[in-house]
């Protein structure tokens, strides 16, 4: 079997606002790896930068949109999905991508998330989950694991954790998936699937807040944190890795749910067309 070298001519600099680099993330922050995967996926699908619209909320995650050389909208905390809904309805020709964080999408913006899933409007939502409000200094978030220390849970978090993917699935998202940053090419492929999906695609990226959450909880430095994605979480994407076959913790990864149903934009435009001329 000849090993075909895949055509790989992705140059990330072609997709960055170079004058703004280096970006502002702390050393080793997982959000940067997620960004590469997104831009790589955009490149491999041949999406024109002028047709790419990135809408992001507030947070270290949301801030990443500002470094992309495309149409970017950095909007209010928790509302990127609401803005993106308007944009996708008005400009169905655009490839709309939402970048949001666990605080942005699940706490203040939880309401918008469930309704975006419910509508199934064509767009891709990337939730960069680092279990914490990174930007504001490390407060507890809806995905902070139990017992973890944060500035607002100094003795450990008691609240149960939200499973963002289950939430999105239950709310009706067309495609739901999850991946860790350590598996960058796999994450890229999953994002590609999301971008190509003709409906609402929700992708949770397991990311790391190294400087604040990692330090507070003694999770080691950046390499150790990223490696723990393999060690302590054991995502399904490592199903073929045989280093420790009996590790108990399992984190479902890959495409977790599909709910193919009418895309809202299409439904809306057809409806509008059928009414044209009648209303006067």
């Amino acid at each position: 079997m000849a090993v075909a070298e895949s055509v790989d001519n992705f140059e990330i600099n072609d997709y960055l606002r170079l004058e703004m680099m280096p970006h502002f993330l702390c050393p080793g922050c997982g959000h940067g790896i997620a960004m590469r995967a997104l831009l790589w996926a955009v490149h491999e699908l041949g999406i024109d930068k002028n047709k790419l619209a990135i809408v992001s909320g507030i947070g270290c995650s949301g801030r990443m949109g500002a470094y992309v050389d495309a149409n970017t909208f950095h909007v209010t905390h928790g509302r990127p999905l609401a803005f993106a809904t308007g944009l996708a309805l008005a400009r169905p020709d655009l490839e709309v991508v939402v970048i949001t964080g666990d605080g942005d999408a699940l706490a203040i913006g939880g309401n918008h998330l469930i309704h975006a899933c419910r509508r199934n409007l064509r767009m891709t939502c990337l939730l960069l989950n680092n279990e914490v409000y990174g930007m504001t200094g490390g407060q507890v978030s809806p995905t902070t694991s139990e017992n973890r220390l944060t500035t607002t849970t100094p003795a450990g978090n008691l609240e149960p954790v939200f499973d963002a993917c289950k939430l999105a699935e239950a709310a009706g998202a067309g495609l739901v998936g999850r991946e860790v940053t350590l598996q960058t090419p796999t994450l890229k492929d999953l994002i590609k699937e999301g971008l190509a999906y003709p409906g609402f695609a929700f992708i949770e990226v397991i990311s790391d807040c190294t400087e604040i959450f990692g330090r507070k909880n003694d999770l080691g430095n950046s390499p150790e944190m990223i490696l723990s994605q393999k060690k302590s979480m054991r995502p399904d994407s490592y199903g073929t890795v045989v280093d420790e076959p009996f590790r108990p913790n399992s984190l479902p990864t890959g495409v977790l749910a599909r709910n193919d149903r009418p895309e809202y934009g299409e439904t809306y435009r057809n409806f509008a067309k059928s009414k044209q001329g009648r209303a006067k």
Binding site: L25, G28, M35, T181, T184, N221, P223, E224
Partner: protein, 304 residues
């Protein structure tokens, strides 16, 4: 008295089938054993497939005759050695009878990852250097064929083992109908047609080759030198670091499988061992700051 009832002991015939996990060695030996049983012969079969699931070697001894005592074939006594993978065939070659044992081998090479002692791009694996052409010249009765290619051309690459059964059937003395019926009973219904064709293709190939002169038979077999040259063109690694973007997070340093990166005094990454870098790009993918770019570029011709 005993001599009266005991038949003149005829030596059992021995067929050794070898390959690697997943190729169907066990299925093939089952077919052969069933064909033998149909002739009213005693059959003993013994197999080892320890690491089969991980691409390791699998072998199966089949011995048949009026009476068979030992289930294993002594060295140098196999009448037929059927190899589904080239190096496995060579590994077992000394089990083949020197005086006219038949060597039937697929030229398919399944190179295990650990055969690569160096992970550098384009490095040559530790894999038997003997080319099919050389080995065919050594054995008395040899058939080396690209069974996978023949099967693929018939539309079912997985029927390669049935192509080899076709070749095997021409080396043994059993009626062709028995082979056909046993195969039909042992392959999945939806693959039946492909396997019928594959069996015939194997027989046709063997008939055409048996009568052909040696030169003709060696014609399409690769020689020692042209085995891999075309497969992998040498590449060199081009490694660029944007020092101003590096934040010294250490991810690339710790995640590099070859340990060839380090942080300098200013906590900026540098390639400390360019010779060891394989160009795998893991450091590039995992750098959150896009500070590393790795490309494999065609190697320059050495300047004379």
């Amino acid at each position: 008295m005993a001599a009266k009832t005991r038949k003149a002991a005829t030596k059992p015939r021995s067929v050794l089938i070898v390959g690697v996990g997943g190729q169907g060695v066990i299925m093939m030996s089952k077919v052969l054993a069933l064909v033998c049983q149909r002739q009213g012969l005693q059959v003993k079969q013994s197999e080892v497939h320890g690491m089969a699931k991980r691409g390791g070697g699998v072998f199966s001894h089949i011995r048949y005759g009026e009476t068979v005592w030992s289930p294993t074939i002594p060295k140098g006594e196999a009448d037929v050695l059927l190899a589904m993978e080239w190096a496995e065939g060579l590994r077992w070659l000394d089990f083949l009878r020197r005086d006219g044992g038949a060597f039937i081998a697929d030229t398919k090479r399944i190179v295990p990852p650990f055969a690569f002692r160096s992970r550098k791009y384009g490095s040559q694996p530790i894999y038997s250097p003997e080319a099919p052409r050389e080995v065919m010249e050594m054995v008395g009765s040899g058939f080396a064929l690209d069974a996978t290619k023949i099967a693929t051309e018939l539309g079912e690459s997985r029927a390669a083992n049935t192509v080899l059964l076709g070749v095997l059937s021409t080396a043994l003395e059993f009626p062709v109908e028995d082979w056909q019926e046993v195969i039909a009973q042992n392959v999945p219904a939806k693959a039946l047609e492909a396997n019928k064709l594959a069996f015939e293709a194997g027989r046709d190939w063997a008939d055409a080759n048996r009568s052909a002169p040696m030169e003709e038979r060696l014609k399409d077999l690769p020689g020692r030198d042209d085995r891999r040259a075309a497969e992998i063109a040498p590449k060199t690694v081009q490694f660029d670091i944007t020092g101003e973007w590096c934040k010294g997070c250490d991810i690339c340093v710790k995640m590099c499988p070859e340990r060839c990166l380090r942080l300098n005094d200013e906590m900026i990454v540098e390639l400390s061992d360019p010779e060891a870098c394989t160009g795998c790009r893991i450091c590039e993918w995992l750098c959150p700051d896009f500070a590393i770019r790795v490309r494999r570029v065609p190697a320059l011709e050495p300047v004379a």
